[in-house]
Subunit: 185 residues, 2 copies
């Protein structure tokens, strides 16, 4: 993008990346991550990442919302892509800001759509997928701080109807800490 320059567009109040030739403004918009805490008999569906960043670490099924999707559709698609799980959502557990990287997250609570034994498998972006009872979650091998936040929001919510969603924890109100700064909860 060598033809891009930084200046404040007309009517704006901050610098943007603008093509010096055609005037195209490349807004650096924050990204939306949608995901879910999906459980079966109290055990939580988690995926071990097959891709960078944090390859080999455990995460929840989550990823970038796509243009044309609703938040719920995006979360269900990610559960399918990463864990081959067909899920149903029942509400929002958490709404988080990761301002360090220009990201926000909407994490839903979900369950497997079909009755009976839960069906799941590793999608192309996962090395393995597993159901972890709360006490057996691999807290030392979690990919991102916000995975802890979502897990804690699920635990705090309990089994009943969902109330106000969790936000960032007091220890990281703006979402600025790096994954390496977080160990076990």
């Amino acid at each position: 993008m060598s033809g891009f320059v930084r200046r404040i567009p007309d009517g704006d109040n901050r610098e943007r990346l603008i093509c010096a030739d055609c005037g195209y403004i490349a807004y650096d918009n924050p990204k939306v991550v949608v995901g879910s805490v999906v459980t079966s008999d109290g055990a939580i569906l988690m995926c071990r990442r097959a891709i960078e960043p944090r390859l080999g670490f455990w995460t929840l099924p989550a990823g970038y919302l796509e243009h044309g999707e609703t938040l719920e559709e995006g979360a269900a698609r990610e559960a399918w892509e990463e864990a081959q799980a067909d899920i149903v959502l029942d509400g929002i557990l958490g709404v988080f800001s990761i301002s360090r990287i220009g990201q926000m997250q909407v994490i839903f609570r979900g369950r497997f759509a079909a009755d009976g034994a839960p069906r799941f498998a590793a999608g192309p972006e996962s090395l393995e997928v597993a159901l972890f009872p709360w006490q057996q979650i691999p807290r030392e091998e979690i990919a991102f701080p916000s995975v802890h936040w979502a897990l804690d929001a699920w635990h705090k919510a309990g089994p009943g109807p969902l109330g106000a969603p969790a936000g960032n924890p007091g220890s990281d109100p703006r979402g600025t800490l790096r994954p390496a700064a977080h160990g076990a909860a």
Copy 2:
């Protein structure tokens, strides 16, 4: 952007706009709108738009989240920019999907930060700013469907602690209807 072509990048599963020269992938990410329903003595702060789209129509103080902001910071900034109002937020009223235009919204409940008579004024993107008692909201001159959704979420929430946020209404679960399709509530 004549040098861009549509193809599926390696490791992806849908077409993206890719620069034929350098391989830069121009992801068409959904955008995040943050806003607030700010009240004083039960009257709601609204702004009449000085810009397109929907110039001259009434909206809530809201706009695009910027990179590096938290959701709360973005909502407070928009209240300042559009209504010159210094506000405090107390929770999330609604989380909406506007899939037609690749947008999602987080709308907070807020109040004026200072005690006493509320201070506000039209910012550069507003023709005028006013406090409307519930019954006097100009429902026939509302800029966007989601403004109705947020207003209704505020009214339904009542004055107490906030519970689960509202989502899209049953009449537009995916956020696909155009503003012109909505008249008075």
